[in-house]
Amino acid sequence: MSGQSKQSILERETTRRDFLKLTGKGVGGVILSFSMLSLFGCGKSKEVGGFALSKGLLIADRNKCTGCQRCEVTCSAIHEGKIQPYISKVKVSRNFNYGLVGPSLNYMASDGEYGNRLMNPETCKQCREPFCGNACPQHAIVSDPNNKGARVVMKDKCIGCGTCTKACPWHLPTVDPETKKSSKCKACGVCATVCPTGALKLIPWADVKATLNKNGYLLG
């Protein structure tokens, strides 16, 4: 059994690499083409982001996001043992009211609950060349072989300086004001597991492969 299990992990990594080649992107974070997304039941909207994580394809569909923030409470409960949306690795609440940019003169028609009602769920892209890890003065952000290659913060090395937060183009790694340690997404997918509308969806690589193969793409 253990041999089989190892093989399937390798298989997934192959699928991920091929998937990235297929989508023509050199980094993990990709906005997928409409035709590609439609294969995974995501319609043709421009509003869907797809992120190739080590564990599977994470789909974040802002049209389906209702801003309930259950992803945030679950993420912090599972990873930190307390409920603290601020340090959740997936971010919804900070954009809830006025979108990514904050209130503007045209707030009534801009993103957010006070505007056009569109949410902006933000998820880690697990970049191949991670800005957060490259910038960390302590080299505390590394690829974790025990965690399917996801970039994780080594808490014992972290000094809570916040360089990772600033370096990340999306400011996703967050320093916990209570522990002074940074943390970031481990690509565990629990946020998607609990999303009450499937706005966050983690599709395992085995399923991605099967779907793509069925539709004439060759992977892995």
Binding site: K82, I83, G102, L118, T197
Partner: protein, 700 residues
């Protein structure tokens, strides 16, 4: 020894007169749980009997509880306690709001915020974790809630959750709200903030709600609830249409998702589809509220559903109706239930279809809700429209409003079903323009001022439950004497949904009755709709359980529009929910083992404290004669029918006397007066309350 989670342990006291902030330990209120319990104790201890709502000596308490922000489903409820200006005695009441505010308050580090004193100039309270400041609010004073919120957010940061009042609150209109998150309003206390010159509270928090249990335990208990116990809005547990997975269906259910029904205004329409009871990734689609509230026409204007932090049930409809801009409001609208129905009710002669067939209700509701929400006008649970109808049709308005003012009101719009009447209506009420603006005083004061006849009170169409001026809210139509008793208990419309969620679950009556037998000792605790029987002790137990759970939820805080989980959508559970779930979550989060029975005792304590507070403020123990009153229609409606015959909800006077006696007995209150006894207060660890009532000669 497990660490104690749940509470932050800190209460912020803001004195607006001195500008001084002080901090108190929450632990002294621990046996009152939180939220409503904290609010009542502070009001009992600190606000003298006879104080009026807008007096500087009145206080207001924004309070959360140990489960607020803990990620327990449906747990971001803010409980606001203060004197209520629309009540004839200005007796204490609660108003509640969902949204994000309560959870963020916890993350900022506060279980409660006490507001006292009066500021000299308009201010807003700005809280960023431990940093608290009072800021000048002159730049938004006079503005509506939407713009005020955006303006304040542009100064304090986009993450801040802002609870604000509109012009109605500023002008101390009795019927005014406090609102956060665009559509989450607490009705009745907006004017208290206005009287204190407090425009808003902006709050952002980066901290945590601690829990004693592990993340995995928390996750597992959540999964247990989400994959087989939680239903749709109001804990309706069967779908409204036949579906392959469901044994039952019920047209009245809010589990309205079905094949082919979409959020039609999403960038790409999203199908709600059939939502199997165990599929947690579809819980948010179960309640398609827009078509439930407005009819089929609303489907294509639905962007999505929305709601409160941590709640998977999305009960607010988020709409995009471009034609709304023709009325000078945003094309986007959000609300639910009474937020939409009450403006439509103001248009008592109906609204004509505006742009397409069947859109009258939707346009009236979405236009009116934006106006009411922005001005911050409350509706007294929908009665403002029925007050208007009576005043107009009885000819009172023509008598009491000066001719020039009367002629300036666009009555033709009202009578012709033109919803733009609402633009004029809410403006007059919120800005206190002329005599007509007394519509915002609330039914009791309005009837007194305009000398309404007795028929105003006696009429089922007007719908007032109590001579104290508040309307029916899941009253005798909901569980006969059970709903009737609950409606007599508070100082405003009862906001108790415990019984209504159970009665409205959608399950067949025989299944409901079998659950009633397990919970309250007999199937006769519950009557079938429109087929009532005389009072019995099991109904008294059902009523008691309903109200103490209601108080418990407003203290923990959990949403009583969803909790308790009396039923389940699963046949494999025999449709039984889990009424111990609150205590399981509380034990897990706080680390202190507490049983369902112990927690219910805390609920009983909180509700009895409310009763003591009412006795104190009204200066009488005669609750039966002065407080627990019902309007005549309750007993005199359907003149051709007798009470307890099929087809009517008519009640019987002598039976309701018995009903109250049985309920008082269950509560351990004096059976003659309905006032709490010393023995009961002491049994509930409220000796200090008993001592104070004793001093005031207010013990039975």
């Amino acid at each position: 020894m497990a660490k104690l989670g749940g509470w932050t342990g800190k209460i912020l006291r803001v004195n607006l007169t001195t500008g001084v902030f002080t901090y108190e330990d929450t632990s002294k209120y621990k046996n009152l749980v939180g939220g409503m319990g904290i609010g009542y104790k502070i009001m009992f201890d600190e606000v003298k009997a006879g104080t009026k709502a807008f007096d500087p000596a009145n206080k207001m308490i924004f309070a959360t509880g140990p489960l607020t922000g803990s990620g327990v489903p449906c747990s971001s409820r803010t409980n606001i306690t203060s004197l209520l200006p629309s009540n004839p005695y200005n007796a204490v009441s609660d108003s509640h709001m969902g949204g994000n505010f309560a959870a963020v308050m916890k993350y900022a580090g506060y279980d409660a915020i006490i507001i006292e004193g009066v500021s000299k100039k308009p201010v807003y309270l700005n809280i960023k974790d431990a940093k608290v400041t009072l800021e000048d609010a002159s730049f938004v004073w006079g503005q509506g809630i939407y713009n005020s919120t955006a303006q304040i957010a542009s100064r304090v940061g986009k993450e801040a959750c802002i609870a604000a009042i509109g012009q109605a609150g500023e002008n101390m209109v009795n019927l005014s709200v406090i609102m956060n998150g665009h559509s989450h309003s607490a009705g009745g206390h907006g004017g208290i903030m206005g009287s204190k010159k407090l425009k808003a509270i902006a709050i952002s928090g980066t901290g945590s709600v601690k829990m004693a249990g592990t993340g995995e335990e928390w996750y597992n208990l959540n999964q247990y609830m989400l994959k087989g116990i939680i239903g749709a809005n109001n804990q309706h547990v069967v779908p409204s249409t036949p579906q392959p997975w469901a044994e039952y269906n019920n047209k009245g259910s809010r589990w309205t998702a079905k094949k082919g029904l979409t959020w039609g205004a999403a960038n790409e329409p999203i199908e709600t589809g059939e939502c199997n009871a165990t599929d947690q990734n579809k819980i948010g689609y179960r309640t398609m509220k827009s078509t439930f509230d407005f009819g089929d026409v609303a489907e294509k204007y639905t962007v999505r559903m929305g709601g409160c932090q941590s709640c998977p049930i999305r009960c607010h409809s988020e709409m995009d109706i471009p034609n709304l801009e023709k009325f000078g409001v945003s094309r986007y609208a959000s609300n639910t239930c009474m937020g939409y129905f009450s403006p439509f009710g103001v248009m008592f002669n109906g609204v004509k279809d505006q742009f397409e067939k069947g859109d009258a209700k939707m346009i009236g509701g979405t236009l009116g809700s934006q106006l009411a929400d922005d001005y911050g006008v409350w509706c007294n649970y929908g009665n403002i429209g029925r007050d208007l109808k009576y005043a107009y049709e009885s000819g009172t308005l023509k008598k009491v409003i000066p001719a020039e003012e009367y002629d300036s009101i666009p009555w033709d719009k009202l009578m012709n079903g033109d919803p733009s009447f609402l633009i004029d209506f809410y403006k007059r009420v919120a800005l206190k323009i002329g005599e007509f603006s007394h519509m915002g005083d609330g039914s009791y004061w309005l009837a007194k001022r305009w000398k309404f006849g007795q028929e105003f009170w006696d009429s089922h169409d007007v719908g007032l439950w109590s001579p104290l001026g508040f309307p029916k809210h899941h009253s005798s139509e909901a569980g006969a004497q059970v709903g009737a008793i609950l409606s007599c208990m508070f100082n405003r419309d009862a906001q108790s949904h415990t019984h209504m969620n159970f009665i409205g679950s959608g399950l067949p009556i025989n299944v409901q009755k079998s659950i009633a037998k397990e919970k309250w000792g007999s199937e006769t605790a519950l009557d079938a709709p429109l087929n009532y029987t005389p009072m019995n002790e099991y109904k008294a137990k059902f009523a008691k359980w309903s109200v103490i759970r209601n108080c418990l939820h407003d203290s923990l805080t959990l949403c009583n529009w969803m909790w308790p989980m009396t039923t389940s959508p699963l046949k494999s559970r025999n449709y039984r929910g889990d009424t111990a779930l609150e205590s399981k979550f509380l034990s897990l989060v706080t680390g202190e083992k507490i049983s369902e029975v112990q927690l219910d005792l805390a609920g009983e304590r909180i509700f009895t404290l409310h009763r003591a507070l009412t006795v104190k403020q009204m200066g009488t123990t005669d609750m039966r004669g002065k407080h627990d009153l019902m309007c005549a229609w309750v007993f005199d409606m359907d003149p051709d029918k007798k009470a307890f015959t099929p087809g009517t909800i008519k009640m019987d006077r002598a039976d309701m006397v018995i009903a109250l006696t049985m309920f008082y007995k269950e509560m351990g209150w004096d059976e003659k007066t309905g006032a709490p006894t010393r023995a009961t207060l002491e049994r509930l660890s409220l000796k200090d309350v008993a001592d104070q009532l004793d001093k005031l000669k207010l013990l039975p």
